[in-house]
Symmetry: D2
Subunit: 338 residues, 4 copies
């Protein structure tokens, strides 16, 4: 940790801070310069954080040297983590994972038709939302437990593991009893109580990046889950909120290779919310494969024009089928397989 | 609602959409132009939303004419809502409300010293966090129920109503049994399940704006609470996340007069998180008063250099006292009183 | 154009506005609703813009139906524009264009070594900056005309057309006398006087997207150039500025397929500035190819550790060579060739 | 300057870098930690910048300790700079400066009526644009030199110094021959060639913050002007571009007190572009005064409904007059005068 003191700080100011560093068992360093005094503290920065030096009246800035996440850091754990979904799917290895299905579970027929289309084209996991976090209280909020039942039933029929969103810590156990993977939506990425509950759950978790989450925030949210004992976390880039509002979000695709440098967890991409525009879903799925993502999660609906939510970004079955063909070529060019 | 069709849409495409509008009991309009066909739909746009026209393959764009929030809209309810806090404080009227106290409840002595300083300088409500949503799982997470007890106890001793954060739907009842106002933090602004629970609670709510929340998202989050039956919502601008990272957040102060045009709910400002820098808290508090805010919520700590969280943005008691003097002049210039 | 009037506007207010629309030779529409009066204006929205209805005291909002750019719009000109660079390169067709070279021209030896490495690996055009727009006046500002001479000389030796930046309207003629393509940097994307000068120049232009430029702003900047008579504009996505500061910029790769829907101009990607991190340049170059870009512009330096600018994002020759091999597979998977 | 090496860097890597620091005449520091080696360099960081250590393959990060701007820094020059405008106005002292007038010079009558209204209400300087940088080439581009003549003429008649925008380095001399202050618009804040030209000009400059400019970028742009010899720079916060698009820009008002901590130059606020909404101009003008700004620049038009540009954000004369009355109370509360 590097601590820069304000101009006109005295040697005594420096000594007091250096002593508090020593008292924590860390090694203090004193580096007086011509315009500023710089202090260093060598040791566990999580411990040093308890000094709250940012609040000290003589401190101008505090710059950590080490990353604040440890459990999810590639430095501590150099090998890729592979996350199993159901008995057959393994995310993070040689297979590029495709999770597909409608935004919301609407009814059995819609789920079955959409799921069958997804499966026929080559998707290996089925998604569908039963609890829908909607910006307006006047929008469709999902079918709840009935939706979970439909999703699980269709998953069994199609022999596809299922992915669905959980929106409250109190629901984790229930959702885990129906679905194979629990998804944390962007709006709940920092619902820390729910993350802790997911950390105590035995099912894998797909953690979507929050709309305003820095990469560090994102990895620290994953750290919350792993810290409670659940190592099976899949990160999912789904776009951030920027001044560019032509698209629903700005898909931060460069975050994929960057995050993979920093963590051993697998990283997927969700181009449907990431762009919000149907015509962009296929190009950005290909780009995700080309930059090293471990898979995609994509919205496919048997009849997007009638979808109760997110129709504008859902692929038609025929489009998804074409995407899968194009994707296969890119994925193989990257040395993986679908 | 204005619907623009894609180029080369046919009269039949338009007719189908117009008919679906009619079937919902709304009035359809047909406006063919030289380059685009534009359709209109007059009626309740919440109902029209169920058509999900955004997902229609012939639709280029859908622009609502009316705001999606109704209950919190000033149009529906022109007069200012006054929200009572405890028996003596009324937010939204002629009094400018000042809520002060430390970021986190650390112990009885710290709360009492900080609260006394806040009270002496003229604050009318006491804040302190017992449940702390922290970006890292390795940071101090708050004292929990013990913190609620200390806060309530100090509030009683100082005869100040208390404000504290709630971070999970399951905690709403417990927190409401200790505190006078429940605060929703920025990270939970779209924790819709918790908002609904707060809507069924009898205590007033301070809803902080999310870091990536548009003003419309913010008002729709308030709509969630009011929609469940709790009319006592205070909005709180606390900064948004932008490219400018010199300050912790970008305090969107112009949102205050804008929001007050759109809603009848009171609006406060939180300059501590809004800037993250102690020296900016007082100027931005004055600015908040000058642009029409109904109050401020500010972090004051008896010893910021030792604060366990947010020390860098907490005022020293003496600074807060000076702020209150300066604020009084601005507040009175605005025709209100402290 | 759709005009929504404020609540309580009268029929007379509407009539006045409708008449002003008629007087411009456009067709007015009157659509009274239950809560708002909506007006329509059918005709050339550039003409309607002269009414400045946004400033009218009774107008709540004005929403254009048509795009404000015409010359660069794919609607007006459905076929892809191919832009020639020098005698042999054609951007926008079946060939994926790779422009490579150092950020700045430092001296003859550095340009020749870097250019040779770029050429050996398969790049077809050579880049190098002689006029460097630097954030600080205390940073290296480029060699100026001497740099243009070196670049032109090395281009001739290697038989590669050259690309270099122009930073002032007054320099356009000079730069055009040395280089084959004139590049507009992000900071000058809305230097309209320079865009107009480039529109009167006979050399093609690479227009980089501004850090805060919406896609519409970007296309309107291109419209400035085309409007003056130069049809040979290549758009270049190079990242936008967002709250995520881990990377130098946020590469908005989804903008590539989106822009290609809206315009007939070719679109390239610049992953060096777009990420600012050497290890991300290759993955994002592959992703650019996979999502449909017409080429990339990438920084390659014979010795990045000694580069006078942007060393952290410059590829080593060996890395660039590996990138070109990987890129070839992706480009061919997309049905194009290098 | 603090340099963090990548994991697995050797002592030899460190030694090489330390030696290069020594060779520049700076003092090197070696601080090996448990997980990282940290190096320090004490001396002029502008000189150290020439090492381009960011590009070094063994370097993980480089953090400057000192600010990159010197001439505009308050540390180097603790006292407030006062900038004279014409013979009577002094910006940055005890007087709060109000510059008012229409967005664009349209004709003599409009300028005279608008200027008279501004003067009557108490504005001391007159603004009006002759060269208008417009997003679209199809929008009104200003009257050019004819506009400069009208502005100068009206300024003489009303005995008000004049402020107008310059958009190209080649125009600096011409504009300076007509106007008392030259304004740099947000889009040209990093038109470095023009900044240098303004640095060689004898008239004061109002430098508006770019839409994507960090505060550091902003101060470095000012440094460009001062570095060429012109000390009379007034900074102007006018809003930045964020995800919140309800308002035209996000007025970053907290930047005002922050910038005043860092620089000795005066800081004004432009709430017209900063919000884009007429009803927000007065509240944000008051807020600007309350947080310590040295003045405001505000758009006032004799007939906003007919303005050729920015009518939606221009005040009516009566509104401006009311604003001036309210502002006086706030300004006096701050210990200054109008």
């Amino acid at each position: 940790m590097i601590i820069v003191l304000k101009p006109k700080s005295t040697k005594q100011d420096a000594d007091e801070i250096l002593q508090s560093i020593s008292e924590l068992g860390c090694k203090p360093l004193y580096m007086p310069g011509t315009e500023r005094v710089v202090l260093g503290a060598i040791g566990d920065e999580r411990v040093l954080g308890s000094l709250n030096l940012e609040g000290h009246p003589k401190v101008e800035s505090v710059t950590p040297v080490l990353s604040p996440y440890k459990l999810v850091s590639r430095e501590m754990h150099p090998h890729d983590t592979l996350v199993p979904i159901g008995p057959t799917v393994l995310v993070g290895g040689e297979k590029f994972t495709v999770i597909a299905g409608p935004c919301a579970v609407e009814n059995e027929a819609q789920m079955l038709a959409s799921g069958q289309a997804a499966k026929d084209a080559g998707a290996t996991c089925l998604r569908g939302g039963a609890f829908k976090p909607r910006t307006s209280p006047h929008s469709f909020q999902g079918l709840g437990v009935q939706g979970l039942e439909i999703l699980a039933d269709v998953g069994r029929k199609l022999n596809m593991p299922t992915v669905t969103e959980v929106v409250d810590a109190a629901d984790v156990e229930t959702v885990a009893s129906y679905a194979d993977v629990l998804q944390v939506g962007a709006r709940n990425m920092q619902n820390f109580r729910m993350l802790q509950e997911l950390g105590r759950c035995s099912k894998p978790v797909i953690l979507k990046r929050g709309m305003a989450a820095s990469i560090q925030d994102f990895l620290l949210a994953a750290e919350y889950i792993v810290n409670e004992g659940n190592p099976n976390v899949i990160l999912c880039e789904r776009g951030i909120r920027t001044f560019e509002t032509t698209m629903r979000n700005t898909l931060d695709l460069a975050a994929v290779p960057y995050i993979k440098l920093k963590t051993h967890l697998p990283v997927m991409v969700e181009p449907s919310h990431g762009t919000g525009i149907r015509d962009l879903v296929s190009p950005m799925s290909r780009a995700a494969a080309a930059c090293g993502a471990d898979g995609i999660m994509v919205e496919v609906h048997c009849n997007p024009a009638k979808a109760v939510s997110d129709g504008a970004q859902s692929l038609y079955p025929q489009q998804f089928s074409t995407l899968m063909k194009d994707l296969r070529i890119i994925v193989e060019a990257m040395g993986k397989s679908l």
